[in-house]
Symmetry: C3
Subunit: 343 residues, 3 copies
């Protein structure tokens, strides 16, 4: 295993194409805040499996096209080589590719939209990273969210871009109580799908593969991802969410990302951080509910905005969270996008 | 009077519980940008009176629970002791408690929501204060607004959180002219309620008590509050707002806060500042109308967002407002939330 | 020609009223990011012509009133003399005056609204410029957009402010394909109107005069404006926008501003910048579609927000756009609003 990794690293070091493939694979792993080409490869496999199995093969094609275009655009814009090689310019375009192919109809112009969206996501990554550097926080997946929101809302005005699975714009209605029996199987597959829904995939086997992909790089991250989807799903059920959205893992993915970010990657793990991350993960669930209401009249989904908002809110007070010397980690994770760090 | 104050201060200095109670009382006064435990005590009395009298006793309970939980959370997060003792971590949670108990149904889960909301409001206070420190402006009540918006919008998705007095989500409709006779009593009680509505209380006697509470600490502030509700109400009437909302003081409270903030607390009072604050107060009324329209499809109220937005817009140009040496005051008011000031 | 310009400059230098008129004229030219009193004069002529020709003479009156009030307010607030003389406090109020008189009914209170709106736009210009200075980007026309959005949304709550040409608030509906034949005349007048729509004028001759006004100051800017309206219109048609909005130039004006800003004024022109500006201009079209959808339930137009958002997103990564030494230009363009630059 290790010797394969070493061989790969030496290939990536010497060959421009190997370096590009390596940056793309790391980009796929960066969606989960990891920096590991094997994790990325397994994740791409999970997306391919899930997208083909659920009859939406356009998703894996969109993911690959956007990952390559976004990474290439960053190269053309001469971003910092170090950030580029870590895949920090691949993960948001990848998600833009997944979202556009999931929610829009598979017509020729969709692919123009995917290429355009991937390139613009990279520009937005640079813009938001420059804005957020002042506070020492990363843009996370917000470049993906912003670009995809623009393109999905735009689709309503563009007759040649077809809308497929977006909800109809409507006024929010209070949801009603229901008596849905919760079986173990329903919950377990829902929670595993919650991991896969980070990549907009509705398949529990993909969720298992992604957990394996995480464990390859860090067992703590895999555990945080599992706890995240469990907490997210149970909090949603406890507050009165029923049926389909639970079974599809839609209340898991933002919690997964928030738990991974707060409990393991951006703060140094400790019991206090675990409690703090738990509060942050519950907050992500509430923000998801809020944004679902807010976006109902516009007919677009929350994407990973709840994760981004909750994580920013729980990351920004960090200076006051004195006893934990987490600074190195935070800086490492936010050292995005520039050759010349300004602080 | 003064000897009582001195005795209280010495109790607060020596006993941890006295210190905590003192921080909570000052927190209640900080909603009005004051730092005085007696003012806070009178305000809590006014809220208790108004909430019981209008048949919504849950509000005073929510206010007290949220004030205590928010202040405690700040302690656990080891915020700056000086800011904490001034009540700067109490006022936003207090308002979150008032809003959630006002707009949501009194079921058991409401109280989980109140405790969660108060704790999260404190985290958001730290986050926004860190963001805004760069421009030298305070977060004001925006942590309350943001957290409460999230939780109220979230309630539409959570079947076990009941909505009570929120307006139904709807598309905005231009309001029509009406011929409503304005009596002195209608206007006077409406304007006094405008003061109480800062705390979501619909009772004119509560408004009188709050004015007394302000006068205890600063007569200028009490005068600014009166002028604020008068200006807010008359500007709204002048532009064509009629009936119930005027009578309930709903066009007064944002103007009250804006007038207090701009005319007395954050700028050094002067004739020029009075004119500037007047323009700011009129702006708050227009922003309130705008946000009322913007939030109609989402079925949530503006809360104090119009005050926050108008005050930020009129505070941020301060460097260009050269002749008035207001810097000390502004800095004092924004020295929120950190042991280690960064500028 | 040059001797007239020199005479004018010497009048503006010596007489306070000449200086004021000069600042106002330059303000009219700054809407297009120019700094030239003759350009401004021609633009005001184009607005007068267009507003009278289309039967909306209130627009030119609103434009002049707002330009004067906004510029005066800046003087009273003692802004930096250098910025003031360049017209940097005139262009946003001017547009506020155009928007309010275009979309609201011509009743007496409209003019209170115009004067208030112009004064507030200047305060907002100072506020946003101070906020954005940290990132070295200008507020562009966003003070106009923000203030006008507030006042237009507010009009729905104010019965004495009448709504005239705003769209009814509605839920967004996907637009349908249509078979509209595109004649040369339809496209050419639509594209010329696209230039005039920067000032909310629906007249192609006004568009021609504005192009002449730009060429007087810089031929490159005039060319960029033409290319902007051509690209904007064709991209919109290519993505499936039909009929009236194309013919009225509504898909041209944001593209015009974005092309001028990115290709000529804020970056140093080069082939790479041209490609980058093209991507930015296409992005402006997509953002316009997105905001059109987002604002449909609120019954307000996008105004120039798509230009501002696209330009900010493509301006903020500038530090990573290494090979082009555009810094002087950017700083020049953003040296707005203060005597004491802080960076």
């Amino acid at each position: 295993m290790n010797s394969i990794a070493r061989t790969w690293d030496s290939i990536a070091d010497r060959h421009p194409i190997g370096r590009f493939v390596d940056a793309c694979l790391r980009g796929a792993s960066q969606v989960m805040l990891q920096n590991n080409p094997l994790t990325g490869l397994l994740i791409l496999g999970a997306i391919a499996w899930g997208s083909i199995r659920t009859g939406t093969a356009a998703v894996i094609v969109g993911v690959l096209v956007a990952l390559i275009v976004g990474t290439l655009t960053a190269r053309l814009l001469r971003v910092s080589a170090a950030s580029w090689r870590q895949g920090l310019f691949g993960f948001s375009p990848l998600l833009t590719g997944a979202a556009l192919t999931t929610f829009l109809a598979d017509r020729p112009l969709l692919w123009v939209y995917v290429v355009l969206g991937a390139a613009v996501t990279t520009v937005v990554t640079l813009a938001l990273s420059n804005v957020l550097r002042i506070w020492g926080v990363a843009a996370l997946t917000f470049p993906f969210v912003l670009t995809s929101w623009f393109l999905l809302m735009g689709a309503y005005q563009f007759a040649r871009i077809g809308i497929s699975t977006l909800s109809h714009p409507a006024l929010p209605v209070p949801s009603e109580r229901a008596n849905v029996p919760l079986t173990f199987e329903f919950l377990a597959t829902g929670m595993l799908k919650g991991v896969a829904q980070v990549f907009l995939i509705d398949d529990w086997i993909s969720g298992v593969v992604i957990l394996v992909a995480l464990a390859v790089n860090s067992r703590a991250v895999a555990v945080a991802a599992i706890l995240g989807t469990v907490v997210g799903t149970f909090v949603a059920i406890g507050l009165g969410v029923y049926g389909d959205p639970i079974g599809k893992g839609l209340w898991g993915f933002n919690a997964v990302l928030t738990a991974v970010a707060l409990a393991v990657v951006l703060y140094r793990p400790s019991p206090a951080v675990a409690v703090y991350a738990l509060l942050g993960t519950i907050t992500a669930v509430c923000v998801q509910a809020a944004l679902t209401t807010a976006l109902t009249p516009l007919g677009i989904p929350t994407l990973t905005a709840p994760f981004v908002i909750a994580t920013w809110l729980f990351l920004l007070p960090k200076r006051d969270f004195a006893p934990i010397a987490h600074h190195e980690r935070v800086e490492e994770a936010t050292a995005v996008t520039t050759a010349r760090p300004r602080r």
